[in-house]
Structure formats: structure tokens, C-alpha cells
Amino acid sequence: MILRRPSFWLILILSAAFVYLPLRGQNVPLREDLVLVAVAIILSSNLNLMIGYTGYVNFGHIVFYGLGGYIGLYLTTARGWNLVVAALAAGVAVSFLALLFGVGILRLRGAYFALATIGVLQAVQAFVINFDPWGRSTGMYMSFEAYKSWGGAMRALWLDYYLVIGVMALSLILSLAIKISKFGLGLFAIRENEDAASVLGVNTTVYKAIVYSVSAFLPAVAGALMFFKNGMIDPFVAFEFSLSLEGIVMLMLGGQGTVTGAALGAGMYEWLRSFLLTSPKLSDFQLVIAGGLLLVVVLFAPGGLIGWVYRLLPRARGVIE
């Protein structure tokens, strides 16, 4: 039972803190900081389903987020849909697309798959740049009117924030639920040895396609919510390759394959970045430091922060997952 897992309660406490902290004193700057952390957590924990659980490196994970944003913004502005409905629709649509793509490219293994995901990202971006209904390379803007039905922009943004936090909590719970399920065991088997897993009766093709599609759903919803908040979208912001890669850095930093690692890495990376960006001496070297950090983690602590904790305190495995 998931309720017996300490991590489950940790997730709830974390989410509650995210809701409560900015609410106290209507602290908007804090809210804006936290929403970035929440999105980072959503992206890295869903990416973790692919990289950490299944062992398939997805370089184009951001494509789900960007497509979700596009579909969400298109439905809310051009079609006048309700935000929640539009976000869910974006999630379903992107998951479905991911299933289609997945069936094709998941026949590839290892590096070939990783390269194909770059190809998918670039192809989708190139398509959107040329797609007229979505405003080609200039993207789409939302009129201020759209916030009216939400009781003004201020209320709409707060509401949007809570929705993002909700998606964050769902992402972490999903990670945990998959980890303790039979489905999760199948994924781990694929990660360790795909051929052996398939001989032992894991339907690897179906498992991989499902996890690829599932890992697309919540990022797409988050994309729809975030670009609604920003009020505009363009193909270069929505499908930024480096954001995709940053997700991988976060995951490695925290510890791939663990639920808390994905969240911790995302939080740490966002904190580090805001620290570096605001520091006058170091802001030019933000990438250098992040890169150096990644190199050190990869070479010396491939388990990330959580892997390190596990080694120090083997008992922690049962508590922090």
C-alpha cells in the first residue's frame, strides 16, 4: 500500500509547504520562485520514469512540455476552453502522440534511442515554426481578457500556481506508485537487462511504450498551465533543447531512479542557478559551474545525492525512495 510508505507523506508535506509558504503574506516573488522549482520537479521526476526506471535516455523530454503549452494556449485563447479542461486535453493529446512516436522509436536501444529523441524534438520544433495556426516563429499571445473569467489576472495566477503544485504532487506520487508496482518492477528489469526481461515474460515493447506515454502526460499538463501563466509562447522557448538537458542534470544531481532524488536534484539545481545568476562575479560562469558539477557527479558519484545517502545510511533506503 502506498499509504504505508513514508515517502508518500513526505510528498504531501512538501506540497503543503509549497501551498502554504507563498500564501502567508501573499508573497508573490516567493511564489514565482517556487513555481519554477515545481516545474523543474515535474519535468525531472517524469524524466526519471524513462531514465532512472527504464534506462532509456530521453534527450527530447521538453517536447512534451512545449507541445502541452501550445495545445493548452491554443485551446484557451483560440477556442475559449476552460483552463483545466484545456490542460487535461493537452495532456491526453500529447500522451497519445507520445504513444505513436514511442511505438516507432522505442524499437531502438541505447544511444540510438537517445539520438532519435533529439531528432523528434528538433522535427517537432521545426514543424511548429512553420505551422500557421500556431503563429509560426513568433508564437502565440494571450489577451488579457482571457483572465477575466477567473476574476482578474491576480486570482488567475494564484489559481494557476495551485494547479501547478497539484501536478507536482501528482508527478511525485505517480513516480512512487510506479516504483512500488509490478509495472515498475518490469521497468527495472528492462533497465538491468532488456533481453533477460523479455525472456522472463515482461512484454518490453508494451511496457516501454506505456512508460514513454505516461511520462509525457503530466509535463504536458504543466506546460499548458505554465504557458497560460506566462501568457505567450514561441517555438524557441517551448522547445528549448538546453532545458531538456538541464532536466537530466537535475536528475543526476539528486539521484536517478529514486523519487526523492528527482525532486531534490530539481530543487538544488534551481537554487544553485538562481544563486549563480544573481551573484555578480559568477553569473557569467553559471554554465561552467553547472557543467563542472555534473562532471563531478558523473565521475565520482553516479548515484547522485540520494545514492550517496544510501551508501552512508543503508537503512535510509526504506524511508527515502
Partner: protein, 279 residues
């Protein structure tokens, strides 16, 4: 069309470096784009400082590239060979971030260009820019030199032996780490040389290496991994494709075609088009 052919040979050269590293040590070198960018800026700095002939400056660039490649190998690659693919992807990506970060701090992301023009060649009603022809010739010479090196010289043969079967090569008395570091150095040198050539053709920023890295992936996949000469041919094909498509549709559609082709070829012929024929 012909212009596409000329530019394509530079794509081919860039992809050869990637392909060599991939084939020999099974590492996807994500520093490739950063190295191409370094090559561009190397040309810019050298050309500004010495005002020598750009194609002569190619030689010191290649030398520096070799050295840099060996250093990067020992810092980041050596420790992750034989570990899961993810690790080498991440460690090369980390080096990539470091280089791009330093480059951005030094040169910002504004565009630069190398101010140098060779007289063009006019055939009938067409004019070919001299720079494009010279770049293509230089790319071809380098590509053939690499091919000769791999086929005819002892170190070249050692590289091929290690890429065929590492343990067997080791048993024959080849020090595989030395060979791998040299192969990595050569791969990087190729990337830097192609960057230097691109710098004489188009304006560039520190980030433009990324575009050529992606093109190199496309080319490498088209050719089949670890087939340097195939990469050259595929590069020329890609250039031709770009040249052939341009008159009929807006240039912004080209990436869509390229990457769709890329994914389709990956899925349909994971060994590359030429790999299929050879096997």
C-alpha cells in the same frame, strides 16, 4: 545545388570526427558542437592576430584540436568507457557546458565573422564563391588524409583494430587506452577543423556549434556509425538535399525534412544506409 555540394563536404568533415569517436569507443561525443564552435573562434582569433592565410591557419588549429581532444579524453572520457551509455553522454555533455560557458563569458553570444574573401569562379551564368570552393577542397583533403591514415599507417591500423575488437587488440600488444585517446584527439581535431572552415563561410556565434552538431548526427546516422568515409559521402548528400530543396520551399522547412529523415532512417536502418549495403 553545387553550392550545397560544397557546403555538404564541410558537414561531412564535421560528421567524420563524430563518427570516428562513436565507432572506436562507442561514445556519443556531445562536446562535438562546442568543439566546432571553438574551431570557429580559433579561426577568428588566429586570423585577427596573425593575419595569415586562413587555410594555413588550419594546421595549428588541428594541432591544438588533437591536444585538446587528448586532454578531454583523460579528464572526462576515460573513466566512463565501459559504463552505461548514459554516463558517457552526461560526461561529454558536462564538458560541452563548460566550454560553451567559458566561450559565452569571453565572446558573449553576439555574432562574429572572419573577414576573408577569395575570388569566385564564374562558369556560364553561375558564380561560385571562392571561399566555398576552398573550404570544400580543404575538407576533402582532410577527409582523404584521415582515411589514408586509418588504412595505411600503424597508429591508424591500431585504431581500427581497437574499434573492431578491443580485447583482441589488447592481446596483440596494442595499448588500447593510448589508441583511444589518440582517436578521440583526432575526432576533436576534425570537429575543430570543420568549425574553422565554416567560420570562413558564414557568420557564427558561440552557440552555432549546436546546429552543426545536429547536422553531424543526421549525417552520421545516414552513413552508419563508425564509418568516416561514409560520413563524408552522407554529408555531401545532405548538402545537396539542402541545395536542391531551397528553390521550392522556404528555408525554415529544411530542418523539418532533415530531422524527419533522421528519425525515419534511424528507425528503418539502425545501421545506416551504407551499413545495410555492406552487411
Amino acid at each position: 545545388m553545387i553550392d550545397g555540394l560544397l557546403v555538404g563536404s564541410v558537414y561531412g568533415l564535421a560528421a567524420m570526427g563524430l563518427s570516428l569517436i562513436w565507432g572506436v569507443m562507442n561514445v556519443i561525443n556531445l562536446t562535438h558542437g562546442a568543439m566546432i564552435a571553438l574551431g570557429m573562434f580559433g579561426m577568428y582569433v588566429l586570423f585577427g592576430a596573425i593575419t595569415g592565410h586562413p587555410y594555413v591557419l588550419l594546421l595549428p588549429e588541428i594541432g591544438v584540436g588533437l591536444l585538446l581532444g587528448v586532454v578531454v579524453y583523460w579528464v572526462a572520457i576515460h573513466w566512463v568507457i565501459g559504463r552505461p551509455m548514459l554516463m558517457s553522454l552526461l560526461s561529454t555533455f558536462a564538458v560541452n557546458m563548460i566550454i560553451i560557458g567559458i566561450g559565452t563569458a569571453v565572446w558573449t553570444t553576439s555574432p562574429y565573422n572572419v573577414n576573408f574573401n577569395l575570388p569566385g569562379l564564374t562558369v556560364g551564368s553561375y558564380t561560385f564563391t571562392g571561399n566555398h570552393i576552398a573550404a570544400a577542397v580543404a575538407a576533402l583533403i582532410l577527409a582523404l588524409a584521415l582515411d589514408l591514415f586509418l588504412r595505411r599507417t600503424r597508429p591508424g591500423k591500431a585504431i581500427r583494430a581497437v574499434s573492431d575488437h578491443r580485447e583482441a587488440a589488447e592481446l596483440m600488444g596494442i595499448s588500447s587506452t593510448t589508441v583511444l585517446s589518440i582517436a578521440f584527439g583526432i575526432g576533436i581535431a576534425m570537429a575543430i577543423a570543420s568549425g574553422a572552415l565554416v567560420a570562413t563561410l558564414f557568420p557564427f556565434t558561440i552557440l552555432s556549434g549546436g546546429t552543426y552538431q545536429l547536422k553531424s548526427f543526421v549525417v552520421t546516422v545516414l552513413a552508419g556509425l563508425g564509418k568516416p568515409l561514409g560520413a563524408l559521402v552522407a554529408g555531401v548528400l545532405l548538402g545537396l538535399l539542402e541545395g536542391a530543396v531551397t528553390p521550392f520551399m522556404a528555408a525554415s522547412w529544411i530542418p523539418l525534412i532533415e530531422f524527419t529523415l533522421f528519425v525515419v532512417v534511424l528507425v528503418a536502418f539502425p545501421r545506416g544506409i551504407f551499413g545495410k549495403v555492406a552487411a
